[in-house]
Amino acid sequence: MSKPKIATASLAGCFGCHMSLLDIDERILKLIELVDFDKSPINDIKEFTGRCAVGLIEGGCANEENVHVLQEFRKHCDILVAVGDCAIMGDIPAMRNNIPLKECLEEAYLNGPSIHNPEKVIPNDKELPLCLDRVYPCHEVVKIDYSLPGCPPNADIIWQAVVAILTNKPLDLPYELIKYD
């Protein structure tokens, strides 16, 4: 029987959670015995090659591409895990959520103290994904099966959770590993 597959994505995040995943150190060799990596920035596979057992999502949804990727993950993954505070509650990107989008863009591209933009253009190329009105936590866009909080979550909590899910064990995480920071 072939190994189950795992996919990962970084939406509106900083890749810190992926770094934390790599922080499992030599256990990555055990992980490779358990799973094959499908679509993921770690192996640079861009499209899903088939059904995945687990999808790990870092980051919330800040633009339409994030939503598209998240929906693709929901479609292709049996179990979807929100990894890190950005995926769970939007976090640092969501600090813009109580400021109108127009004001944010004007501050970033027109009015900020270090801006040099003589044409006064806010980027609007149609290749660029459109920003959403606010940053949406993943559970507000698709159904999320598990969440692993932390900024980033400790490598141990990611390891224990992924192994528990892959081996059909209950997710029984020790107190010291549950952190929101």
Binding site: A82, D85, I88, M89, G90, D91, I92, A94, M95, N97, N98, R134, P137, H139, E140, I144, Y146, S147, L148, P149, C151, L173, Y175, E176, I178, K179, Y180, D181
Partner: protein
Amino acid sequence: MSKQITFSIDGVEVKGKEGQTILQAADEAGIYIPRLCYMEGLVPHGSCRVCTVIVNGKPQTACTQPIAEGMTVENDTPELKEHRRNIIDMLFIEGNHFCMFCEKSGNCELQALAYRLGILSPKFPYFFPKKDIDATHPDIFLDLNRCILCGRCVEASKDIDRKGVFDFVGRGINKKIAVNAEANLKDTNLAIADKAADVCPVGSINKKHTAFATPIGKRLYDVKPIGSEIEERKK
């Protein structure tokens, strides 16, 4: 010598003194009833509802309800755990609780209760409300993004400091903490040694120049859950 009163919490016999609340008697007996707005030394007002227990079949706040001979109290039940979890969940979505850069993280009672209750995932959509920050005072700053309206600062400033620096304004979802001045916190007589500057359970009232002094792993709730110090009193 006050009269001894015998009652039960989750089927365990507890002895308390006449005039004590359920919470006080439970604390002495080493039984932890989760609580948030209650603080020893301040007048309890039962506003957060986290300490709700079932007394003789009826819900009551343990911080305000006096003990009585023979009463039965339910505390650690799946229903009450769910109820407490819902309150904590709602407090998280109602404000802007960004733990990762909060100075109180690791020492925050709201966060610690969430840890103790094992909250991993949010249950409700977030509000992301617009709230004010008042950093005008030289020693203290007020961040309403994290305020949970427990009222501890109001009580402490009124009853202990005798200053009345803080109070509630507005009602319902618009209720918030305001300062007793024409403009900002700097215009009040709040001082860094005041009790009111010390009682905030979350990162709403912070002392400046003191942040992040304790490394991760050594903070109040890093290793042991909130309430462990009470449970350790139990023989």
